[in-house]
Each structure stands twice: as C-alpha cells, then as structure tokens.
C-alpha cells in the first residue's frame, strides 16, 4: 500500500523559530530548532532516545516540566504558544492539537468504559463538538472509522477486554474526535506486533489524509517513518540534522548519521558465512508445554521441533504470545516440557535438576531482553562478570581478574568501567556486560531472548556486530528470539516462524525470506516496515 502522498503546499500550521529548551538540570534538550509544518503534511521525527524528539513534541503541546526555560518562538496556527497559561492551553489541547500516546496499555483509564472515555472528549469541548444527543452515534462513527469491529458493543467494554491493537485504535479515534488541525503521534505503534502495527498505521494514515490533518509522527524506526511520511526530520542531541522529503532523504542524504540509520534499516546483505557442519548444539524434538488446565488451559508450545547446528544462528520469529520465550525457557531448563525431548550438546535438558542443571548452564546461557533488570544495580561491573567464575570456583583470584579483563575486552568495554555500577552505564554497555557474564564460564550457546529490542537502533547495530564477531572468533551458537525481521534477516543462518505455539515454517534464512511457504510467514513479511525504503534503495534491498 502506498501511504505517502504528494506535498500539499499551504500555510504552515506550526512555525517554530530558533527554539531552545533548557531543562532545570541544565540539559539543553533542544538547540536552535527551526521548523515549519505546512497544513496536511505528515512529518516524521526520527532519532534515538535523548535526541530531543520528545522535547519537541512536549514543547508543541505545552507539557514541558515546570522550571524549563524555553527560548524562541512556537506559533500554532498564528498563535504564539510559548507563554500561554493553563486555561488557554486547555482550549487548544484536544481540539486544536491531538495526541496519540505511546503506550496503549497505560493510556486508557482501566475503570471507565471505552464509550465514556470517547464521549469525555465531547464533554470537555462542548463548543467544538456535535450536540449532546448525537454524542453516542458520533462515538460509534469514530470507532468504525478506525476499523474497530462491532463499535456499538465496544462502547460498553473496558480497556482490559481489548487487545493492544484495538486500544491503540481507540486512542486514535479519541485523538481524531474533534478533528484537530495538528496531531502528534508519539511512537504510537512501537509497543505493537508488526502485523498489528501495519494495520494500525494504515488506519491512522488514511484517516489523516482523508481529513487533511497535519501529523507530527515521532518514531525511532526509520523504516516506519519512510513508509508513512511526506517528510522526515532526523534529530540527534537536540538538533535537527536533516529535514528532507522521504525520497531525497533516502537517495540524496550525505549526513553520516542518517546514512548509518539507513544502513541499519535496509540491512546490509552480508549474510553470516555458512560454517562447516560440526554437530548439533540444540536439538528440540516435538516439545509441548501447556499452562493451566481444563477450560483455562493455554497451549504455549505445541509439537515444536528444530535443530541448531553448532556455530550457527537460529532465529525464532513471531508475534508476542506465540511461544518464543516459552521455547527459550524450555531449552534453558527453566521449565519442564510435558512431552518431547530437548538435547543441548547431546545431553537431555528436561530431567536436569540441581547439579546437572548447573552443568547445562555452563554450556548454554540466556541473555535477557531488558539489561536494566538483568544486572544487579548494586554490584560493580567486574564482580558481575566474575560471578559465574566465583560460583564454579574457577581459577584463583588473579586468574579471575585476568579473565574478567579479557571478557571486557572481547565485548568492547573500556577497562575503566570495571569499577562502575550498572546505573552509570548506557543500555548498550549494560547489554555488553550481560553478554560478557554469559560467556564467562565458557558457555558456547547463547539464547538471546529479544536481547536487542530494548536498545536504540544504532546501539542494536553495534551489539549485532559484536555478536557476529564473537560467533566468528569463538564458534558460538545463537538461538535468537526476536520480532524484528530486519535484525533476524541479518544475523541468522536459519529461521523458524512461530504462531500460537506452533512452528509453522522453518528453513534457511534465504528460503524463508524469499520463498515463504506458509501464508502466515507471507503476512509477517508483508507487514515488515520499510517497503518504501527498499523500493528507493535497490542497492541495499
């Protein structure tokens, strides 16, 4: 689907001039921003966390924390908004500027029905909305317009009865309720699965085009940005690096930062080299696991079989709830399978307990999704990495400190960080520490459970490169669990696609990505953002 539209020249809805935002702590989060957004344009703002994109949106809707110093000018439809009081803001928020928040899970009031939350918008802005008698029918109309099925029935439902995708549609409906001139969407789909993301984006963009709404779409994903936007703004450390149309950004950009982002999003086609067959590291045979019993039983993993040859990467892809993480836990011996067999380096996993489970964990280690929670915040980096060495009583203290230094060098951590504690490190550095700890006791199999998804794109890139070089040098075997098809395509030798606990397709990465056999795999690949990017960037795709 072509979601981009041609530029519509018109008077700017938003005119930002020389905007500088300084937080009370002294951080300059936005530095001399100049930006005009013409009416009806969809503008995507791309950048890592800390690049100032959230500050920009907060300044636009007047939600900067108290004590923040704002210099420069922000004009919204001719009104200067940098010094408005709360009452004047209230008239603009919702009616003039709508907001689609990031996390659909926590953005709806759990104790109110969908209907009352939709109608609340009309109640707050009576002069902008339809007469009271039509509120309900208008709400139903809105829900239908964002593609919510059975809208009348949904009005009486509570947020917990809706899926994440439906909740985000409701939030979009609320944002469009009063036909605002400008809509700010702050990472509206980053909490959703790819297939759901695709449909939600389609609904959102077609509604905005139809109503001629100006959209400021904040995202960290360049692939999503180029799919939907007319124009892309690349931000880094509080400055606008580039401000171009999608086509010119992809084909003409010379900014190194943008090129790096583009390279990441398109994925270089350097596949990992196939390795000589050296035996099977992980062997999963018809494994099943059901949670609960009776009517509430949930088949988390059903009859899953695959093999991972030593020294290669096998990726499991699928939506959340498809059983990927349960499979990882089964392999790590953290859960027992109800039927079937798992062998890691030839040893059975299911029956392992106590000492034998420790034997398994010396050969296979898990790297977690969230490096914040995976490292004890009170321990120093050196002692975190040394922990397995200490627990298995390997070597003497001198050998251990040498081994820690060696591991830190392997994962490219500066030796000066040995005495630091996790809260002082960035997300990428923390994930490096987690990898070093996993390798410390000599494990050659790593199970990476969404290990990159909590990181910024460029950090992901660095960790990915690290994983690949470790695999080359030490012959590591990876079981890589991810929902991000770009990453999977780059790192894997083999791919397995999971859906509702079943492995619907598996094969070499080339085979699965170019000739998908199962219809679900095709849906998943079609939903993968970055189509525009691939079209315009044939060299990479």
């Amino acid at each position: 689907m072509e979601m981009n539209a041609k530029n519509t020249p018109a008077a700017p809805v938003v005119r930002i001039e020389d905007l500088t935002v300084r937080y009370p702590g002294g951080t300059v989060a936005a530095n001399g921003l100049d930006l005009h957004i013409p009416s009806g344009q969809i503008l995507a703002v791309v950048g890592e966390s800390g690049s100032g994109k959230s500050t920009l949106t907060k300044a636009l809707i007047g939600l900067l924390p108290a004590g923040t110093r704002v210099e420069g000018s922000i004009r919204f439809g001719g009104t200067e908004v940098t010094n408005l009081d709360v009452r004047r803001w209230r008239a603009i928020r919702g009616a003039g500027i709508g907001l689609v928040p990031q996390d659909p899970g926590s953005s709806l009031d759990p104790v109110k029905t969908i209907g009352s939350q939709l109608i609340e918008v009309f109640r707050l802005h009576p002069q902008r909305s339809v007469p009271k008698a039509q509120w309900r029918s208008r709400a139903i109309e809105l829900l239908a317009s964002v593609g919510v099925d059975r809208p009348e029935y949904r009005l009486g439902q509570y947020p917990h009865e809706l899926s994440g995708g439906l909740k985000q549609r409701v939030l979009i409906a609320i944002a469009f309720a009063l036909d605002p001139q400008l809509l700010i969407a702050d990472e509206p789909t980053s909490a959703l699965d790819v297939t759901v993301q695709r449909t939600v984006l389609e609904v959102f963009v077609s509604l905005a085009r139809q109503k001629g709404t100006t959209v400021l779409f904040v995202t960290h994903d360049l692939a999503v940005a180029t799919d939907i936007a007319d124009r892309v703004l690349v931000m880094n450390s509080g400055r606008i690096l580039e401000d171009r149309s999608v086509r010119s950004l992809i084909t003409e950009s010379t900014e190194p930062y943008t090129r790096a982002l583009l390279a990441q999003a398109t994925g270089s086609r350097q596949r990992p080299q196939p390795v000589a067959h050296a035996g099977i590291a992980i062997d999963v045979q018809e494994v099943s696991r059901t949670f609960g019993r009776g009517a509430t039983a949930h088949r988390a993993v059903h009859q899953v079989s695959f093999q991972v040859p030593r020294g290669t990467t096998f990726s499991l892809v699928g939506e959340s709830g498809s059983g990927k993480s349960t499979t990882a836990k089964l392999i790590m011996g953290l859960l027992d399978p109800q039927s079937g067999q798992i062998r890691v380096n030839g040893q059975r996993v299911g029956a392992a307990h106590g000492r034998r489970r420790h034997q398994l964990w010396r050969q296979a280690q898990l790297v977690y999704q969230n490096p914040d929670s995976a490292l004890d915040p009170r321990q120093r980096i050196a002692s975190i990495i040394a922990e397995p060495l200490l627990n298995y009583r390997l070597g003497d203290p001198r050998w251990r400190s040498g081994r820690v230094a060696e591991l830190m060098e392997q994962v490219n951590l500066a030796p000066s960080l040995a005495a630091a504690r996790p809260p002082q490190l960035s997300g990428g550095q923390r994930q490096r520490v987690a990898i070093a700890r996993a390798l410390a006791s000599g494990a050659e199999i790593l199970v990476l459970d969404e290990a990159l998804s909590a990181l910024d794109v460029l950090t992901q890139e660095q960790i990915l490169a690290l994983l690949q070089s470790l695999q080359r040098e030490h012959g590591l075997t990876y079981l890589f669990i991810s929902h991000d098809l770009h990453v999977v395509e780059r790192i894997s030798h083999h791919v397995g696609v999971m859906r509702r606990g079943e492995l619907v397709e598996s094969g070499s990465v080339h085979q699965v990505f170019t000739e998908p056999a199962h219809p679900y795999t095709r849906t998943l690949l079609a939903a993968n953002p970055g189509q525009v990017l691939r079209e315009l960037c044939p060299a990479a795709g």
């Binding site: 966390s49 964990w361 490292l375 627990n391 298995y392 500066a414 630091a420």
Partner: protein
Amino acid sequence: MSVLTEQNTTPAGLPLPEPAPTTAAPAAGRPVRRWLGRWWMLLPLGLLLAWALVPGAFSAADPITGIPAQKLSAPSPAHPFGTDHLGRDVYSRVVHGTRQTLMTAGLACLIGSVLGSVLGLLAGTAGRAADAVAMRLVDVLLAVPAFLIALILVTATEPGPLSLGLGVGIASIAAFARLVRTEVLRVRSHDFVQAALMSGGGYFTVLRRHILPHVIGPVLALLAVDLGAAILAISGLGFLGFGAPPPTPEWGLLISEGRQYLSVAWWLTTLPGLVIVTAVMLTAALGRSINCAFRF
C-alpha cells in the same frame, strides 16, 4: 523505580565520561555539614546510649535513695527535672532508667527483626508451601493485638526485662515478616536473580549476594522505627506495673509513680514523658534517614 530508568544516554561504544564522584570533598567543611544534615539524630541518640552505658557519668545524684527534706521540689539548676515524693532526683532516675528501657527495647527489636526476617525470607524464597505456612502464622500474630500478646506473655512468666522483651518482640515479628516478604518478591522479579542462579549460584549464595543487600535498607529503617515503638510499649507495660519492680528506675515506672502527684508536681510525669517522646521521634527520624540512604 529510579534504579531502572536509563540515566545515561551516551551511545554505547563511546567511552562514557567518568561519573562525578559523589563522596569526594570539594571543600573541607561541606561533607561534615552534609553528613550532619542527614544523620544529626545520631548525636542525641548517642547521648541516650551513653546514659544507658555509663549513667554515673551524667548524674551524680543517687537514683535509689533520696533526701526526704527535698521532696517534691520543682525543677532547678540543682535538680533539672525536680525531685519526687521521696526526694530522689528525677533527672538521675531518668538517666539510670535508660539502661533498663533501652536494653528491653533492644531485645524486643532483635527478636522481632531476626525471627521476622527469617520468616519473611523463607516465605519469599522457599516455595509456595513455605509461603503459605509462614504467612498464615503471621496472620495469626496480626489477629491478636500486639499489646495483648506482650501482656499475656509477661503475666504468664516471671516479670522482668527478659519476658518483657520477648513479649514485645514477638508482637513485632509480623511486621518484619511481611516487609521482608514483599521486598524479596519485588527483588526476585528482576531478571538478575534468575541470571545469578544460572551463573551457578546456589540458594544461599544468591540470597546473600543479590537479595539481602536489596532488602536490608527497609528492614533497618523499620528496625529504627520499631525501636521507638518498643520503647513506648515497654514504658506502657512499666506504667501498668509489669516492668521492673518499684525501686528500680525505669521510664514507664517513673511516669506511673508521678501520676499520683500530677496536681502538685507536673514535672514528675511531664519531663520523663518528654524524654520518651523525644527518644521515639529520634528513632523514627533515624529510620527515615536509613531508608533514604539505602534507596538509590
């Protein structure tokens, strides 16, 4: 939780600027002032401790035998807290009574915190059955008023500091057990506990290295607050006559004796009472400071 928020947005790979050392002293006078700002209550609490350890150093007057000629004299430079109906110096009796009260309260806190923490750790880590048993035990303790438990234990056994401390201590087991259990469950939900187990750590290793350091802050804070509560409970029991026998100076007993002369000698109840209130408030402030120091 502030621990989990990203505090540093420097891209990985680039060397981070060295974190500013927070303990280093830019000027000689400042760390002392900052330390005092947080821990000022340690000074008066230290004075109380000194009263308990060497009461003779703080009051020369005899706390047991008084001078009948000076009975019921109002506070004066010679007798800062006045004298009681037997002419004994009240200040001296307060100072000498500190040991009895603090020792009993300390014993109570020790029993409450140790037994409670063990129970809470068991409940939080040793599986579902242990959790159920420990928590139902705690429910039973919570169902009976704490003061009543202490009263029953003291009347059933020979009155004395030991039975008093035991009685008050048992009553505070429940609070410790609950606190430790919730803290353990909170810490356990972090991936690093599972990661520690997978790094080859045994049950006790993980408990010691990863769970206890996160739990200890709130427990110490509750300990300080509980000390105040125990002082109050012990003084209350002393007031009711379940504490030390009469000639022995003890804070609750002092107030109890002074009650009969409330109309003629206000200082007999008011001044020891103020000492108790101050001691309890100081321990509460200490608890708050400990809690702040362990949160980061």
